[in-house]
């Protein structure tokens, strides 16, 4: 509980202005607090990046509780907000020199492995300087009591275009349906129970009774746990904007597209003065439409289409197609972006105070994986999608996949929704399978990374996994030492072991390993994510039914 429930929100002891409906991250960014904490290993400066509650860029301590994501937290009067893993402040952290002193990075496997006393000293030092937040000052206020489990015929996960369409059709037919969404959704859907601000975190393979074989675990934003039992599940969790490997990609001021949008003080007012947007697809166009006046340049790993080129020239935005993104220049914050034209040695620099990554959308495939659906690699997007032997049905009986997470975008997303609803309702309405993105050549990033890795002089210190501070060099080293396959390299480097569970590092690491191991990405391995989809508080999980610990009655 806040000390002073009437007073202003305080950040590091000073009053912080907060506006109605604003997240803590927005308020902090708006008032110039760009560095919110320091990274786990090298104490590199970090700030908001993903904007959707996955990464570790905006972890803060709120009212004595550790590891609160500022981008998902709406402050209340009297909240005390502090920074974590930084002393005396995130801007001037005493351990910041570690990043430079460690040179190209520690070899955590072999540094100080002998003699015994040196090892012990090393472990002790690491133990004292690592971890994010301190243990809570006091027991957190308990979440509201959970409701009983929700029993329905169909649970729809994700209220985007496809998920809403499925729920609308099922609801209209009187089919008992619940629609879950992570965000805030305005407006009900007739005939459907809508539960928003609620993240579906765990969908184990169906194993319950025949009429409700699925048990879907969800976590509500207010801390309540929710168990949904359903006969069928329609997974429509959508996608997210990917990261990209370049030196300084973890520096405050580098955002994903949705991160930049989420961190904006208002829908058209960006969290930067001049940004370089990376990418040439629909997402880049969207950013131009939204923040056009504050976009300095568009940089793309591949070609730029005529529509975007026209839009850019209307706005006076410079275009740099077919470029290698080498380095975000700057100290505690981005001051520029160093580039090279593909196939050329010379580098050049653009001045900017933000880099927005809008080059690639990836599917949220965690629930499909968890449920045991067979997945397959689609080279043109460079990601895994559920195998759909019959239109929208996965290989798990009763589990359907629609929308972006299943590879259906644009009109196909709605077609996939219709198909799922018709199948569930037993209506022979839609015919033929909705078409997914056409198979094309390999993803453009495969060739891009091949060129980047082959550049003479090598690559500067690059963080491949910001949650765990795993460097590109660490992955290369694992490969050189004979570890093959993403599963083993993950464990060797701790790549993807952090809070985002590899969302922002594994897709690119898979492409790199494919190059180093000389085999196609699907042979390098699955990008498997273990439950839960996002970290869930123990107090939330404790609310879910279970057999209870033996002897604890």
């Amino acid at each position: 509980m806040p000390d002073d429930a009437e007073g202003p929100v305080r950040y590091r002891g000073r009053p912080l202005e907060t506006l109605q409906g604003e997240t803590l991250a927005q308020a902090l960014t708006r008032q110039g607090h760009r560095i919110l904490h320091r990274s786990i290993r090298y104490h590199r400066p970090r700030g908001p990046f993903c904007g959707v509650g996955y990464c570790t860029g905006c972890l803060v301590r709120v009212n004595g509780q550790p590891n609160v994501r500022a981008c998902r937290y709406e402050p209340s009067p009297g909240d005390r907000v502090e920074s974590e893993n930084a002393w005396p402040s995130p801007e001037f952290d005493a351990l910041a020199p570690l990043d430079r002193l460690s040179g190209t990075g520690f070899d955590s496997h072999r540094s100080f492995a002998r003699p015994w006393w040196a090892t012990q000293f090393y472990y002790r030092m690491i133990r004292r300087t690592t971890g994010f937040g301190r243990l809570a000052d006091a027991v957190a206020p308990p979440p509201p009591p959970p409701g009983p489990p929700v029993d329905v015929e169909t649970a729809v996960v994700g209220a985007g275009a496809a998920g809403s369409e499925v729920a609308r059709r099922l609801g209209a037919a009187g089919h008992p349906t619940v629609l879950l969404d992570r965000g805030h959704r305005s407006g009900p859907i007739e005939g459907t129970m809508l539960i928003d601000r609620c993240t579906a975190v765990f969908l184990p393979p169906p194993s319950g009774p025949v009429d409700r074989p699925f048990r879907l675990v969800a976590a509500r934003e207010d801390g309540r746990g929710l168990l949904v039992r359903a006969r069928t599940v329609v997974a429509a969790p959508g996608g997210y904007d990917a990261s990209l490997l370049f030196a300084g990609n973890d520096r405050p001021g580098v955002y994903t597209a949705e991160g930049a949008i989420a961190d904006s003080p208002s829908p058209t007012d960006p969290p930067f003065r001049k940004a370089v947007v990376v990418g040439a697809g629909a997402r880049a166009t969207e950013l131009l439409d939204r923040f056009g006046a504050s976009v300095e340049a568009i940089v793309a790993p591949g070609p730029v289409g005529p529509d975007l080129a026209r839009r850019a020239s209307e706005l006076g935005v410079e275009l740099y197609p077919r470029s290698l993104i080498l380095r975000a220049v700057g100290g505690r914050r981005v001051r520029g972006l160093e580039l090279a034209h593909r196939g050329a040695g010379e580098t050049f620099q653009l001045t900017c105070d933000a880099v927005v990554l809008a080059h690639r959308r990836l599917p949220n495939s965690q629930l499909h994986f968890q449920a045991g659906a067979r997945m397959h690699w689609r080279a043109e997007t460079g990601a895994y999608y559920p195998v759909l032997p019959d239109g929208v049905a996965t290989t798990v009986p009763g589990l359907f996949a629609v929308g972006e997470s299943a590879g259906f975008v644009g009109p196909a997303a709605l077609e996939s929704a219709q198909r799922a609803a018709d199948t569930i309702l037993g209506v022979a309405g839609s015919t033929g399978a909705p078409s997914r993105v056409e198979e094309a050549g390999p993803h453009e990033l495969e060739g891009y990374y091949r060129e980047l890795l082959g550049r003479p002089g090598g690559i500067p210190k690059t963080v491949a996994c910001p949650c765990e501070d795993v460097l590109l060099k660490d992955i290369a080293q694992a490969s050189q030492r004979g570890y093959r396959g993403i599963e083993v390299v993950k464990r060797y480097t701790s790549l993807g072991a952090g809070l985002c569970q590899g969302r922002y590092c594994l897709p690119d690491a898979l492409l790199l390993l494919s190059i180093w191991e000389g085999r196609p990405p699907p042979e390098v391995g699955y990008i498997r994510q273990r439950p839960p989809v996002v970290p869930v508080a123990l107090g939330t999980l404790a609310q879910l039914p279970g057999p209870g610990p033996p002897g604890a009655s």
Partner: protein
């Protein structure tokens, strides 16, 4: 074309977990000739890559305490010997008792441990508080503590062994499945694998959760049962918990890693066998969440990042099976570790290597030998501190 370099080896080890690789290391160091290690998965896919990394010496029998003591010494030397950090940190093991009966069990163990010269001690609730200030003392009536017990990161032990055995000439074939033991006239002569048959003078069953299946493929009746065990890890926190804490009442175990995460599990029933695959369950997550919050109430806002599971290879008496099978010459067991393979590996595998080479060991076959399950009136089950 087979991926295997030879069609015949002196020793074929099934299982590239800590038991298989450590044995291969001892064998290769002794110059035992061509050695092949096969594993159906990737390195660290089995229990060796799925455990909580606890290494304790508080055991119910003196022979096991001796093995564990030797294992602790080996893990202390691991960095020097293999040039690999394994993050072995001796923060101690703190057992918690919540009833006089549980305390009596700890006292009995304490006597055995003390008899082997280890300075374990019984502590009262105040002593518990001093060792782990964050934990709730509600219901705690006492505990036992041994400071030289500790925790390590399991993965790097495998990396160190893997790199070393390969440098010593051992062939490690990953993704190669052992499908059947080949026998001839009461003797194991080799193995059918997914890469074709391979001959062996000695076959070592170090297949962990799959060891029962392998023995049975040789026509042997063995009591090994694979039991799923779930485990989870939380977000990293700054250092606040030094010892591994084990609560007898629900089998909860939890430790804080060098990086700050809490890793732990608890006794949670699952049907046996490997047919259902390795997964997690909502019931485990909620049970474990309640157990952790009961232990440290201030953890309630901390997030679980990841849950996974693996197999315990369990035997009826809870002790491992080490030695040549009396019914099948050339077939040596190193299995049934029941979730304690990592704790005992460095010491147990020295004996396994001897058994492979046909040398005598200091292990009592009535305690560890595969023949013990065949004898009528074999020793009764000992009450275990920690099931599994």
């Amino acid at each position: 074309m087979s991926r295997l370099a030879r069609d015949r080896y002196r020793v074929v080890v099934v299982g590239a977990g800590v038991i298989g690789l450590y044995t291969a290391y001892h064998l290769a160091s002794a110059g035992a000739g061509p050695i092949l290690v096969v594993d159906r998965g990737f390195l660290s896919n089995g229990a060796s890559g799925r455990n909580g990394g606890g290494v304790r010496q508080q055991w119910e029998t003196r022979s096991t305490v001796r093995l564990a003591k030797e294992a602790v010494h080996a893990y202390r030397r691991f960095g020097s010997e293999f040039g690999q950090n394994i993050w072995f940190r001796q923060g101690g093991y703190l057992f918690l008792a919540e009833s006089p009966g549980e305390l009596d069990r700890l006292k009995a163990v304490d006597r055995v441990v003390a008899a082997e010269g280890l300075p374990s001690r019984l502590v009262d609730p105040d002593g518990v508080r001093r060792l782990a200030p964050a934990i709730s003392l509600e219901r705690v009536v006492g505990g036992s503590f041994l400071a030289s017990d500790g925790t390590l990161y399991p993965f790097p032990v495998l990396w160190g062994l893997y790199e070393r055995v390969r440098a010593l000439g051992v062939e490690v074939a990953l993704g190669v499945e052992a499908t059947r033991v080949r026998t001839e006239a009461g003797r194991a002569i080799g193995l059918d694998t997914s890469e074709g048959p391979v001959g062996a003078d000695v076959l070592l069953n170090a297949a962990g959760g799959w060891s029962g299946e392998l023995s049975r493929s040789a026509g042997l009746t063995v009591p090994n049962v694979a039991t799923l065990h779930e485990i989870l890890v939380t977000e990293p926190l700054r250092r606040f918990l030094d010892p591994m804490v084990i609560r007898l009442s629900d089998g909860l175990y939890v430790s804080q890693t060098v990086r700050g995460e809490l890793v732990g599990g608890l006794t949670f029933p699952h049907p046996s066998g490997t047919s259902r695959g390795m997964g997690s369950s909502p019931e485990f997550l909620s049970t474990m969440a309640r157990a952790l919050v009961r232990l440290v109430p201030r953890l309630s806002s901390v997030g679980i990042v990841r849950a996974w599971s693996g197999y315990y290879d369990e035997t009826p008496d809870g002790f491992p099976v080490i030695g040549e099978d009396p019914r099948l010459r050339g077939f040596v067991h190193a299995n049934g570790f029941g979730g304690h393979g990592f704790m005992l590996a460095p010491a147990a595998t020295r004996r396994v290597a001897k058994a492979v080479l046909g040398e005598p060991t200091d292990l009592d076959p009535r305690e560890f030998g595969p023949g013990r399950f065949l004898e009528p009136g074999r020793p009764g089950t000992i009450e275990r501190l920690q099931p599994g």
